[in-house]
Amino acid sequence: MFTVPTADVLIQGIISGLLMGCIYALIAAGLSLIFGLMEIVNFAHGEFLMLAMYTAFWMYTLFALDPLLSVPICGGVLFVLGVVTHKGIIRRILGAPMLAQIFATFGLGIFLRAAAQFLWTPDFRQVSEPWVQGPVRLFGVSVGLPQLVSALASLLAFGLLIWFITKTEAGAALEATAQDRQAASLMGINTERMFTLGWGISSACVGVAGAFLASFFYVFPYVGSLFGLLAFVTVALGGFGSIPGSLVAGIMIGVIEVLAGLFIAPAFKYVAVFAIYLVVVLIRPQGLFGKF
């Protein structure tokens, strides 16, 4: 059942796992931000990512715009989608029972997935000639260039996000709202605006991640299911509401996935990810960095 890979393959695998993990982390960061802010899980998060990937794909197909250039466009489109989702749905269910909170975004996810399938068929599509493609050799290890670029960009976006939250006034207001909604509101912070901003930023994060993913991953209506599920697991593992937690957990998951694929079998890579997630949350229900 177990196979032992050679050292070369192992190093190669770990590096590609690290790179993928950075992208997982950026996707999860948005989810975590929303949860920290208002204790709501966006079950349509994966579908938001899918829409960002389609945006990048259509920009490429219709206007010959490379996915790297669509990054700001995808970020902007998704920012608007996040704001609209908050104004149209989330605002109305803030005080609602758990069940309504879960199924409001869950239904949105099913809807968006079916809409993508209806409009653009279930075909797998691909950006055929992206600017960055093919492998590069780095310190004797061969690394996918798009993965490398995406991972570095994800880290950069992650850094920007943390800078925004910790160093700017709007970020401080966001953090204050997350800590105590009522106290923040007494201090003159418009919490409703903070929620809107939070949804915008959260969705913009997946927008950026989606544009990068589109340069090396197939685009199809169900692509969000897998990434969404991994994002939930990442956030739960890192601790809901903890943004540094999602970075650590995202990278962990990227590496576990590759190691399980190498040591056990590729078919079991997500089984290993989910199993380790379960073990961690059963020992530490609040996740690695969660405060509860």
Partner: protein, 332 residues
């Protein structure tokens, strides 16, 4: 005097309510039992059987999620357990499918306790996400387990018609009556739970777990009881499905989409209500068939478009579902 008048009025109200409800119930029973007499097309018969099967699954999910508030998004695990247990026992050991059905339910209950005991420490979203993860693990394991047929699935051998063999090829309406009986038993089970002490405990846990704990309700034990009952019914539904279709593979009995469908049917009909799962299923399954006929089956996904929109709409604007619309009007 006044008190007596009030009591009398209440009694009268209750009688009148029973009168209306009773008539509706009797009508429903007549239609359900006489259904085979009106219907000749196999397509309609199949549709009715699937409505009854899904109403059972939805009601079972409702016991755990609706009454107890524990949102499981991995109920396909129990469905697949039921389907595979009765079938594997039958094919490898020649066990009678009815005994297999009971064995499947027992195994599903055991699995539900093994999942529930650790996972009930997680609350709300955390529990929901953990159940998705477990569902995906089981799905993948089933695909890769050759003993139970792996990704190729299992085809049950065709036997001579008999109640004992649980196969009916001459008159498939016997499947209809078995599904009806299953649905009614599950419905009565939910009804009994709703009006007994357990039902009050479960609803107390749903409304406020900490408060329920502090007044002395053994929270975990009652969550586990709800989970066991729910898993058993879903598993029996799975065994029935296996005997009805005579073929199963992991993608048809273990998928996440099945777990989700069961939630959608219940939530749209009215989660936490007795009639919600039945009403939701009776409307949504034919709706999905209708769109499939209108728009073609392959890939358009119009039914899911409607399901998703309805789910969000119900969750935001009408948390008690379609059933809530009726009861609210009557309450006024």
């Amino acid at each position: 005097m006044a008190a007596a008048a009030v009591a009398d009025r209440d009694g009268e109200g209750a009688r009148r309510r029973f009168g209306l409800g009773g008539v509706v119930l009797i009508l429903l029973a007549v239609v359900a039992l006489g259904f085979p007499a009106f219907v000749t097309l196999p397509y309609h018969r199949d549709l009715a059987i699937r409505i009854l099967l899904f109403a059972t699954l939805a009601q079972a999910w409702n016991i755990l999620a609706g009454y107890c508030g524990q949102i499981s998004l991995g109920h396909a695990v129990y469905f697949g357990t039921g389907a595979y247990t009765s079938s594997v026992l039958q094919m490898h050991l020649g066990v009678n499918p009815w005994i297999g059905l009971v064995a499947g339910a027992a195994l599903a209950v055991a699995i539900s306790q093994a999942i529930g005991y650790p996972c009930f420490r997680l609350r709300g979203h955390y529990f929901a996400i953990a159940t998705i993860a477990i569902g995906e693990i089981v799905h993948t394991l089933a695909i890769n387990w050759d003993f139970i047929g792996g990704a190729r699935g299992l085809t049950l051998p065709i036997r001579k018609d008999s109640l004992l063999a649980f196969q009916f090829h001459g008159t498939k309406f016997i499947y209809y009556y078995i599904a009806l009986a299953l649905m009614v038993v599950c419905f009565l089970g939910a009804w009994h739970i709703q009006r007994s002490r357990i039902g009050y405990y479960l609803r107390a846990i749903r409304e406020d777990t900490d408060a329920a704990q502090s007044v002395g309700i053994p929270v975990t034990r009652y969550k586990l009881i709800a989970m066991a009952v729910s898993a058993a019914f879903v598993s029996v539904g799975g065994s029935f499905y296996a005997q009805y279709v005579l073929y199963m593979d992991p993608d048809s009995v273990f998928p996440l989409s099945l777990s989700i469908l069961v939630c959608v049917l219940t939530v749209v009909g009215g989660v936490g209500t007795l009639w919600g799962p039945l009403v939701g299923t009776a409307l949504m399954i034919p709706l999905s068939e209708f769109t499939r006929i209108q728009f073609g089956g392959t890939g358009s996904g119009v039914d899911l478009l409607i399901y998703g929109a309805l789910l969000t709409f119900v969750a935001v604007f009408q948390p008690t579902g379609l059933v809530g619309l009726v009861t609210r009007r009557r309450g006024r």
